[in-house]
């Protein structure tokens, strides 16, 4: 009879105790707000599923700069996405991956990702959290497997601590790794260029910049509207296929011939520090892009209706437009210490650094 009474009490204690352990107070996770620029649209990223925290961002930053995410240790995310170049690969049409491979596309700059619904220049990736898995597992980029990266992270004491700090316990999962990377990348907000300062009334355009802004609003804004300087649509702007790097763009994802050679309209923020240009980096300078728009483009059946006659531009206008594009460079973004490598990590020197030395 006594047992009948004792047993439930004991059970209640055990269950109650474990309940408190599960939901009771735990080491604080420091939530931080998303740095929303004034007057910008609402971000599309689902922060409810993955709320930003100081610890999560810090973990994401370490992952982003850590070569161990790649098979041979030499290709962290940051090897292709360099902060001083607004997180594109500096001065590269295509980026270098493991075993002397090249990527098939030009690495885009990484910023303002919270407003982006789809990723990659063909829109193939439908969530920011999923994006890291593409380079991680691509044999021409980081050449790794998700499971073996997780094993490397699990055996590292510092990561164990950081995962616990960011997510409450030491479990290292694909989801947590990618969410931490997203948290870090979401803090890459670029909204403090001269253009932004002018819009906020804190600075003024000089004459060429002002004229360039006017031309931009006439001839470019239909596809590159502020504040993000892209409408995120996919368009064929008359860039012919390169038979040595055949890439049908958006058509690869939708299977529709009307999407042949269509690529996402890129943001033009920081554009003057992200050369070369175009999805495969075929335009080595801004002048080449302008030459494309005014005379070299090739009209195809899938070419955008706005692009069928090209864009008339005088040399004079090109100079002014370029002056305006310089105002989109955000020097506080590329110098932001919170986005730089953690103090104890040195990013491996690019595989082709020696070639560049020779050229110079």
């Amino acid at each position: 009879m006594k047992l009948r009474v004792l047993l439930p009490v004991l059970l209640a204690l055990i269950v109650g105790g474990s309940f408190i352990a599960q939901y009771g107070p735990r080491p604080e996770i420091t939530r931080v707000p998303f740095p929303q620029p004034k007057g910008w649209p609402k971000p599309l990223y689902d922060f409810k599923a993955n709320p930003l925290s100081k610890e999560g961002i810090e973990l994401g930053r370490r992952l982003f700069y850590d070569g161990r995410l790649s098979k041979d240790g030499n290709f962290p995310c940051a090897s292709c996405h360099q902060q001083f170049a607004a997180f594109t690969t500096f001065d590269h049409n295509l980026s270098h991956g493991i075993n002397n491979n090249l990527t098939t596309r030009n690495a885009p700059g990484l910023f303002n990702l919270a407003w982006q619904r789809e990723f990659m220049q063909d829109g193939g990736v439908n969530h920011l959290d999923l994006q890291p898995l593409a380079p991680l597992t691509a044999p021409n980029e980081m050449g790794e497997e998700i499971d073996s990266v997780l094993v490397k992270l699990r055996t590292d004491k510092r990561y164990k601590k950081m995962f616990a700090a960011a997510f409450g316990d030491t479990a290292v999962t694909t989801q947590r790794m990618t969410r931490a990377l997203s948290q870090f990348m979401l803090t890459m907000v670029s909204a403090n260029s001269k253009y932004d300062k002018v819009m906020r009334g804190e600075a003024q355009f000089n004459l060429p910049e002002r004229l360039g802004h006017g031309i931009f609003q006439q001839k470019c804004v239909a596809c590159h509207p502020p504040p993000l300087f892209t409408d995120f649509s996919y368009r064929n702007i008359g860039i012919p296929d390169d038979p040595f790097n055949s890439d049908k763009g958006r058509m690869k994802i939708t299977g529709k011939s009307t999407d042949s050679l269509s690529f996402r309209v890129p943001s033009l923020r920081n554009v003057m520090i992200t050369a070369p240009y175009g999805h495969d980096g075929r335009f080595f300078s801004m002048i080449e892009v302008m030459e494309h728009y005014r005379k070299r483009l090739k009209v195809m059946p899938a070419t955008d209706s706005l692009m069928r006659k090209g864009i008339p531009l005088s040399n004079f206008e090109i100079g002014q437009l370029t002056a305006f594009l310089y105002t989109l460079t955000d020097s506080s973004f590329i110098a932001n210490p919170h986005l730089a490598a953690p103090a104890d990590i040195t990013v491996p020197v690019a595989a082709d650094a020696a070639d560049h030395q020779r050229v110079r």
Binding site: R4, M120, V125, L130, A134, E145, L150, Q175, R179
Partner: protein, 252 residues
């Protein structure tokens, strides 16, 4: 004194759990054992034969092949009794059945009385395809996910055949796609008759992947690795692959 709502709720919850525990402990064991469970046993087959990685199979077009990998997702497993109303019967959102892992082919279901039919989604729903990285069986590390064109591979069938013209004489079918016009997840509904109350055996016949309105053969299509018309045609084919196995004819 003012107790915050959260604390109050927590106290109430603990109280409720404690009461539940007491009930459980006090109840006679015989009643507890009557928890209604049903084991869903999945079998992989080629026609009437059990599918193994060693044996050779022959499809309706006369092509011979050996299978080394056969995996598929099942989700939203629901049961219905005599009233025909379906209810969720599984604990987990999605299961990944793998021919080489017998434990993955046994799923515990909870029933509400005698079962008259079962339905489930072969594959995963669109929501799972657009909401980032998931855990458990839906972890992209399971190899059932496309990273370059986001989305789950609903089902995979891979092997080797002398009729294949692909490198290594391999044939590889990775069937996925969730967007309009590319959907490859399929609802499967099967009537359940004359099976013991606590066990239901379903056979998945891989020979059904071939043929169909698109006339799929290994020779004509050794590879399917992306969403699109071929994937949809094969999905239409695999919709036919399940049947309820009557107890007693389980081991052919």
């Amino acid at each position: 004194m003012w107790l915050s709502l959260g604390v109050m709720r927590r106290k109430l919850r603990i109280g409720a759990i404690a009461a539940g525990c007491w009930l459980l402990a006090a109840l006679p064991g015989s009643i507890r054992a009557q928890q209604n469970t049903l084991t869903l046993q999945l079998l992989a087959r080629a026609g009437q034969q059990a599918l193994t990685t060693e044996d050779s199979c022959t499809n309706a077009a006369g092509e011979t092949f050996a299978v080394r990998n056969f995996r598929y997702y099942l989700s939203h497993i629901q049961l219905a009794g005599a009233d025909g109303r379906y209810y969720e019967a599984a604990e987990t959102a999605a299961y990944l059945a793998d021919m080489r892992d017998s434990s993955s082919q046994q799923i515990m279901l909870t029933t509400k009385g005698p079962v008259q039919s079962i339905r489930f989604l072969l594959g995963v729903d669109s929501m799972a395809n657009v909401t980032g990285v998931h855990t458990g069986t839906l972890d992209p590390a399971k190899g059932m996910f496309w990273t370059w064109n986001s989305g789950y591979i609903m089902a995979k069938l891979e092997g080797r055949s002398p009729q294949s013209t692909a490198p290594g004489r391999n044939f590889t079918y990775h069937i996925g796609g969730y967007k309009t016009g590319q959907q490859t997840a399929r609802w499967i509904t099967l009537p359940v008759t004359a099976t013991p109350a606590n066990r239901l055996v379903l056979a998945a016949d891989i020979l059904q992947w071939f043929g169909g309105s698109a006339g799929v053969t290994i020779a004509s299509h050794p590879v399917c690795h992306e969403p699109g018309p071929l994937a949809v045609a094969i999905a239409d084919n695999y919709t036919r692959m399940f049947s309820v196995v009557k107890e007693g004819e389980q081991q052919p």
